[in-house]
């Protein structure tokens, strides 16, 4: 009998848990540790943030699903990993602190045979003074944050109706943020809401980003073949900004946020400030605060985790200049090089380097996007790691059998630009591979046949359909495994 412990029940961890349960016999235990009692379809949080959906519509309780599937669930937060156990007991363990109302604050040690770290990001609001719902800006990272943002947006709408001009700043709250795509979506959803209410004239909508150019999205931008031309995601995105009258501040690192005013540094080293009536700024991410100890109790956190808190896996982490980055630097199996029974998937694994070109201001401030690793790639990683672990438990192999390199994986991204069954809009994009490979695709780094984008109502329908399909799949309803990640 083997026990697989999965830390985190987001897209990656939940997918891994469902597949492991499906692949392993009942003699083996699949155990999920998550501080949250609910699963959240995060891509739809932007619709909660404009009041188009309720928090309930994008979440569901995990416990009944896990009970039905025979997965053990501990509502707790992992705080430490002991991959060699301790001197009294050599079995690997995870230390957890319970977060459920009944067991709040209680601690426990859970032994494991295999460990999947799918803890996702720690929302690092503390990186920027005044950032976040506890400070002076808003967020749509969680359903609760998104509901709060919707409430603040309603107040802005009321002031606009009263004839007061309003400035809405939406973007990222630090120079090293990721998830520019989500900020882009929220910007255009807010713009759409204001326009559909006839209030656009008095609203100044500003997109503030750490991207070097619009359309970068943390993946170094894309090239599309359209109507006989090869065009860039930059031109494509700029066109949407012009069409919708949205202003942009690029190459910015937000330094601090005071009530109604934010201060930022730009890549040329200049400092500036911007007043606002509404600011939704996403935080930078770092790994969950997990410590690691060896058998003697020595702290080995630095061996298991990168300085940013993400788990080191089978990537090539040697420091090289941008020109020498290779697609093959990216991990394939997500296995820890230190412990063969530990894996890291989704946002929790440490990427070898960004995808966009890194840039630093004359003051030494890093102002460039961190690499995204959410959505479709996250789900695929969870599934492939589940297959590898199942094969290893069944004795079919001693090393991981399934690969999921982001350099050999495509991604489909639907960026909403306004909700509405008849008047909605979204940008549908596909790219292959996620990490550009200039050996296989020397000019653009990606396949022009499979990298594509279009704007329209149909893309909104697809996004809406995906909302229902992925929640259906996550609830492990009949046929769930037939739906792709």
């Amino acid at each position: 009998m083997a026990r697989v412990v999965i830390l985190g029940a987001g897209i990656s961890g939940h997918t891994a848990a469902l597949y492991l349960r499906r692949l392993l016999g009942k003699e083996h235990e699949v155990l999920v540790v998550s501080p949250n009692s609910k699963w959240n379809w995060i891509p739809s949080n932007i619709w909660v943030g404009v009041g188009r959906m309720s928090a309930k519509a994008v979440t569901f309780p995990l416990a009944p699903v896990y009970r039905r599937k025979g997965i053990t669930f501990e509502q707790a937060k992992a705080v430490a990993v002991r991959p060699e156990g301790d001197e009294a007991d050599g079995r690997p363990t995870v230390e957890v602190v319970y977060t459920s109302a009944e067991r709040q604050g209680q601690t426990a040690r859970i032994t494991y045979d295999y460990l999947v770290n799918a803890t996702g990001p720690k929302l690092n609001f503390a990186a920027t003074s005044g950032l976040g719902p506890d400070g002076n800006s808003l967020s749509v990272c969680t359903p609760g944050h998104a509901e709060q943002a919707a409430g603040a947006l309603n107040e802005v709408i009321a002031r606009l109706r009263a004839g007061q001009p309003q400035r809405l700043v939406i973007g990222v709250g630090h120079g090293a943020c990721t998830c520019e795509g989500a900020a882009f979506e929220y910007t255009f959803n807010v713009e759409h809401e204001l326009r559909s209410r006839g209030l656009r004239e008095l609203a100044d909508v500003v997109y503030l980003t750490n991207e070097y150019e619009l359309g970068d999205f943390g993946v170094g931008g894309m090239s599309f073949k359209q109507q006989g031309f090869i065009t860039s995601s930059q031109t494509w995105t700029e066109s949407l900004f012009r069409e919708r009258g949205v202003r942009a501040i690029l190459r910015a690192h937000v330094e601090r946020i005071e009530p109604g005013k934010l201060f930022y540094e730009t890549l040329d080293g200049e400092h500036d400030a911007l007043e606002f009536d509404f600011a939704m700024l996403l935080p930078p991410f770092r790994g969950a605060d997990l410590k690691a100890y060896d058998r003697s109790g020595q702290d080995i956190t630095d061996r298991l985790f990168a300085p940013n808190g993400f788990l080191r896996v089978d990537a090539d982490y040697s420091q090289r200049p941008f020109e020498e980055w290779r697609a093959e630097d990216w991990p394939k199996t997500y296995q820890s090089p230190s412990y063969a029974n530990v894996f890291g998937v989704g946002i929790a694994f440490a990427p070898p380097h960004p995808i966009s070109r890194p840039r630093t201001s004359p003051n030494g401030t890093v102002i460039s996007p961190a690499p995204p690793r959410t959505g479709m790639p996250s789900g695929i990683m969870g599934r492939q790691v589940a297959h590898s672990i199942a094969d290893m438990i069944k004795g079919k192999a001693t090393t991981p059998t399934h690969l999921a390199s982001m350099a050999h994986m495509g991604a489909a991204c639907i960026a909403s630009a306004g909700a509405g069954l008849r008047d909605g809009t979204a940008a549908a994009m596909t790219m292959y591979p996620v990490v550009p490979d200039y050996v296989r695709y020397p000019v653009h780094g990606r396949s022009l046949k499979d990298t594509y984008g279009e704007v329209g109502l149909a893309a909104h329908w697809v996004k809406h359909l995906l909302h229902f399909l992925f929640i259906y799949k996550a609830k492990a309803r009949p046929g769930w495994s037939l739906l792709p990640e």
Partner: protein, 47 residues
């Protein structure tokens, strides 16, 4: 005018026909099928 503002100001604008097609239901039903087929192709390659 900074770089971003300059570029946005000179970005290509969609024609009235393009804008109309983006919300034209029959045309968008066709595009819905095309987007789904493209995504299926991506899924087949990426999985």
């Amino acid at each position: 005018m900074d770089v971003a503002e300059e570029r946005i100001a000179s970005a290509p604008l969609p024609t009235t026909r393009t804008l109309r097609l983006r919300s034209n239901i029959p045309f968008q039903l066709w595009r819905f099928a095309v987007i789904n087929l493209r995504m299926l192709r991506m899924i087949r390659k990426g999985h």
